[in-house]
Symmetry: C2
Subunit: 232 residues, 2 copies
Amino acid sequence: MKIGIIGTGIVAQTIGAKLLEFNHDVMFGTRDVAKTLERTDPGPMGTPPLGQWMKKHPTAKLETFKEAAAHGKIVINASSGVASLAALDYAGKENLDGKILIDIANPLDFSEGFPPALTGCNKDSLGEQIQREFPKTKVVKTLNTMNALVMVNPHLVPGNHTIFICGNDTGAKTKVSGFLSDWFGWKKENIIDLGDITNARGTEMLLPIWVRLYGVLQNPMFNFHVVVGKKP
Amino acid sequence: MKIGIIGTGIVAQTIGAKLLEFNHDVMFGTRDVAKTLERTDPGPMGTPPLGQWMKKHPTAKLETFKEAAAHGKIVINASSGVASLAALDYAGKENLDGKILIDIANPLDFSEGFPPALTGCNKDSLGEQIQREFPKTKVVKTLNTMNALVMVNPHLVPGNHTIFICGNDTGAKTKVSGFLSDWFGWKKENIIDLGDITNARGTEMLLPIWVRLYGVLQNPMFNFHVVVGKKP
């Protein structure tokens, strides 16, 4: 399948690598292709620059946000949450209308240091902002509550654990749930459909405790499991 | 032990009943004792009025916020989160200074309907507000991320699942962790100390997804389990 990925960081690379294993036609989108390829420094979390990564993944493509969005039968937003709306505006409504957009981003702002805060939450969310900005796009929020390696390799965390999905379009959510299972190996029973896109609030608001748990555990390879007992 | 409970709702009653099983000397605090005892209507969630509840639990005491706080060797804030600061102000610094205050409240505001929003979050939390208002009190935030029945009966949710604790005073957290195990049956390995009281943000911000999960599952008897894999 032709898949456009908005973003070039660790989430984009990790998702992209997994999709390439299935021989999907993956195109990353960036603001300035030449500048992205020129970069030789690792990212803030030690992420290799995309140019270096692409040498190991020669079938991956890199173009502008606009071209990557146009390329994708589905589009994945794996950009930094604080930059997502700008990146998607560059990509353009004409390239996103009618498509499924899988939104993985979290609007975490590290500019005031640690711990990061969300740029918007509680009565709004990035998922909702994107859906409002692109009303003809089927925004499905998922994968945003865990480390990138866990997203695409849920078996790296033992036993059952939960992935949340939400969005306004039921058909789109059914398709994305299928991708989660078929591509990444998520068990159906561990996918919880929270409902419409306003539920992005709840999943994005998991990030503050996620960040703290990462610090306490000194290990990003964990996930939340919603364990359910008998009704009272 | 003499324990003061600020609040008279379902959380206060559930915690109180469990503490009475251990023969603790439990005193509930309310604003107006006569009015609390006069009430005959159930609360918004079907909670029995405290007067009715006390007939079944005759050893429980009911006095003002001030007297309940003075009574407690430790004090538990089980009031509605939007009313907690006012209730604790009534209770008075002179009755809270130097004591452990276990803060279970979440600042969920239902006044604008469903879903409720938090009155403060992200860069602040109720736990921090209380600690700032009562700098000589050892505020320990815990128990606030689950249904009241699960708080005091963790076995009602099968297998392992997590309870978070945070606060600035290490000794106070150690004591409260002991209470969680000894009184309520929490396994030591399921208690995660997140660090200082600023971590109340992360635990209070779990409430929006908790409320949605309650709706999706149609069952309040669930909890989050932090499942940890191998370090990468």
